[in-house]
Symmetry: C2
């Protein structure tokens, strides 16, 4: 097994050799969704990207503990600790209890992840499920002198922290520049410095989701939950923290500050960020009417694409771009991916059937090691896909008699291709397609039966009848001359 | 709409007219699973029974808030507050973090519920997500004088409570009898009375799941979570509390004591209990090798049944017994249910096709009102099913020319049958079946194509080729004379 894995560390800005803290084990934390709406396609790309990471680490033999949270409280509309809680606002608009919003969109999120064939994380903690852990973390940060209470809320003291640590080191921002870019906002008077962020917010009377704490009845700040839950389940320092590029600042910057000030150590060894999606060349945006939900892609009910796509085709399409590159959703590009997806599975199917020879005309070992080389280079899925197509070309040549493969090499190549296609890229052949094809096939059969009867070809019509009976399909000629069928 | 709903209240021991606390709204709480193992079939029956309740209440026009918890901490091996935490024990055996056990079996639970076509509850709270609410509840009970602290643990004072309230009223047990039946167990020395139950348990050093509290670092008692969560999401008094018969004592008895002593009111208006399952006449029991998992029923991989069953057939089978009756799983009974299931859907399909007349020979209104009468009589699904079969008989008679139906009545009956079959009973026609049939149909088509080619019947073989192309199916003649196909 080839373990020369290189990971691009967003914190250092370069590729680094991956070494896990505990040999053979990896702790992986990824920021999950705020469940107040249908998960959008950009988020899906992030979760698919880290599903690839999770799968490849496991393929390399690591025992991975993958933690991805559900944000069900504390994510306010504005990063400046103002505005309504996103979930509570939706609950108010829909006149339900906030936890009903959480349930509805958590279910949608899980269903969408499943359609994309993402593996479930090992632990999926919720922010409301870790209020005590968050309170405990705040107390540590206060004790260490990096947070202060004001009017029942607790804020992180960014200036104080920056004196001994480098605030902004992940996102490459300088505190002076940040300061110059802040405006005085309402509700910020309690802060010593506009850059300070809330660890605990005192709740107003109308506020729906709130808990007792040493400072007030209130709720935790959004940045806090990930620090509390990653520490609880992965330790004070862990291996890999992932998330979307948009979370780098302020969310991940604040996580580093919280973890470092609470535990006096850097919480994360490797930071990874997945890049954004565009739709037809433009930023996805609901307000600009340039956005699409996963479900709308799968059903074809949208105004951006003329047909529907299988989730596996979309996943394959995403795999054809590196996770750190932006990816543009266009009809031409996805149609091309669809062809590629079919070509890949056709190649794999063909491999099962090709004849073997005494010797291979090409080195299968080199073909396979290229799969590893691609993935070891910062999970470069598009290069992996290109290398898989090299294998498909080889298979086609074998089939055409232009190349040869030994039986042992055939077994090796088959295993490696299946490993990388199914287990690493997380693709699968779609069974859903089958269901919709049943009607088309029955149309053909009903038509052939009609023809046979008209031709008085009783042998054929009997054959059809017997075959359908065996398949458990009842066929019935109605009085109106039409034929119907049922499949009990 | 007929709203004369009668519910058998386990607390009073009789059927009562249902009146909800808030007109038009119903609060429904059902004890969910302890997620330390695959959900067993008996639990499934309970959740399917309350899915029926949830569905019918909604059909009657109620806006239902259905809360079903996930027990992820505090459920000890013994009801006497001793033994290991069930989840922590499994985590120790499997050498993982307890929350990994929770995640694994919560996913299995959700998947199984989905296969049975159970609707998701509106809120699915977890015990670990409500530690603060549980601490708050304990404080209320202590303040009201019904609980005491001992060595960092807090116990409910059953004797004290029984002086002013009737402990045992739900399960019909007398405290004197209970006292006579208790033995002195290890770890019970802190209790004033062996019947007292833990609200909070001080954790040992090795204990994995623990939180700070005013009394100790520890964990909540199992009975407490349901009181805390039902109060939080449904109020201090709510309409319906359901669960399996095995939870009546001590779990539900303790819930009544907790709620009453904390809030000075009876927490629940209607208690409902679903009865148990047997397998081939005997109690299901893993240790006696007389048990079966839902998955084993669906795959047929088990030693009790000679074939596999569709989840909808199992659901239909369960609907043929009243939820308060025991139900025996036998091969003959399920096979009979399978036939009934098919007969019901055949009848519904036939209804779409029958010719209408000027007048109906039977009163459709009476047929439909019988559906309501059955369900209004304490959710009597088996009577509903019998009444649906009366409708099927009528449909068959129409088809045979022995009865007639007007076009308006046909529309009415169709709507009512679909409402009760799909929305109330929660049955659906299976699409999974379709997928497996695809192969059989392709066998027929490939065979017909071969025959046509042998007969030099090019018109037919062209027709097949065109039909398959339209269906998106590629057919390929291999060198070995066999024909393969792929459906991209």
């Amino acid at each position: 097994m080839n373990k020369n894995l290189q990971i691009y560390n967003s914190h250092s800005g370069k590729k680094e050799s991956f070494e896990s803290i505990n040999k053979g084990f990896v702790g992986l934390y990824v920021c999950g969704p705020t469940v107040y709406n249908y998960v959008h396609l950009g988020n899906c790309r992030t979760f698919i990207s880290f599903d690839l990471v999770y799968r490849y680490l496991q393929h390399l033999g690591y025992k991975v503990r993958y933690v991805r949270n559900i944000t069900d409280v504390g994510h306010l509309e504005s990063d400046a600790d103002t505005g309504e809680d996103k979930i509570a606002k939706k609950a108010r608009l829909e006149e339900v209890e906030p936890m009903e919003i959480v349930q509805q969109y958590t279910i949608n999120f899980h269903e969408t992840m499943k359609r994309f064939n993402n593996l479930s994380p090992n632990i999926e903690p919720t922010a409301t499920g870790h209020i005590l852990e968050q309170i405990d973390l705040i107390q540590k940060i206060i004790t260490n002198g990096f947070a202060y209470e004001a009017e029942g809320s607790v804020y992180f003291d960014v200036n104080k922290y920056n004196k001994s640590h480098a605030y902004g080191s992940l996102s490459g921002r300088k505190i002076e520049d940040l300061m110059n870019n802040t405006r005085d906002l309402d509700g910020q008077q309690e802060k010593r410095n506009p850059l300070d962020f809330a660890l605990w917010k005192k709740a107003s009377k109308e506020h729906l989701m709130k808990w007792p704490s040493p400072w007030s009845i209130g709720f935790p700040g959004w940045h806090l939950e990930c620090s509390a839950m990653s520490t609880k389940y992965l330790g004070e320092s862990f291996d890999i923290h992932g998330g979307g590029m948009d979370l780098k600042f302020p969310h991940h910057e604040c996580e580093i500050a919280q973890g470092t000030s609470a535990n006096c150590k850097d919480p994360v060894n490797y930071w990874m960020h997945a890049n954004m999606l565009t739709l037809n060349g433009k930023k996805m945006s609901k307000s600009a009417d340039n956005s699409i939900l996963p479900e709308e892609l799968f059903t074809g009910k949208n105004k951006h694409f003329s047909k529907s796509y299988n989730p596996m085709v979309i996943r394959f399409f995403m795999m054809q771009a590196h996770y750190r590159s932006t990816l543009d959703f266009t009809e031409d590009a996805i149609n091309a991916a669809e062809k590629g997806y079919n070509r890949l599975f056709d190649g794999l199917e063909l491999l099962q059937k090709v004849k073997t020879s005494d010797k291979s005309s090409e080195s299968v070992e080199i073909l396979i090691s290229a799969f590893y080389a691609a993935m070891n280079d910062d999970f470069n899925a598009p290069i992996l896909v290109a290398n898989l197509f090299n294998a498909v070309k080889f298979i086609n040549h074998i089939n055409d008699g232009k190349a040869s493969i030994s039986s042992q090499d055939k077994i090796q190549l088959d295993k490696a291709m299946k490993d990388f296609i199914f287990n690493v890229l997380g693709l699968k052949q779609d069974t859903e397609i089958k269901s919709s094809k049943l009607d088309s096939l029955m149309d053909i059969i009903v038509d052939l039966r009609k023809q046979a009867r008209e031709d008085k070809n009783w042998a054929t019509s009997d054959k059809i009848r017997d075959g359908l009976q065996k398949a458990g399909i009842q066929i019935k000629d109605n009085k109106d001359g039409k034929t119907s069928w049922s499949s009990h």
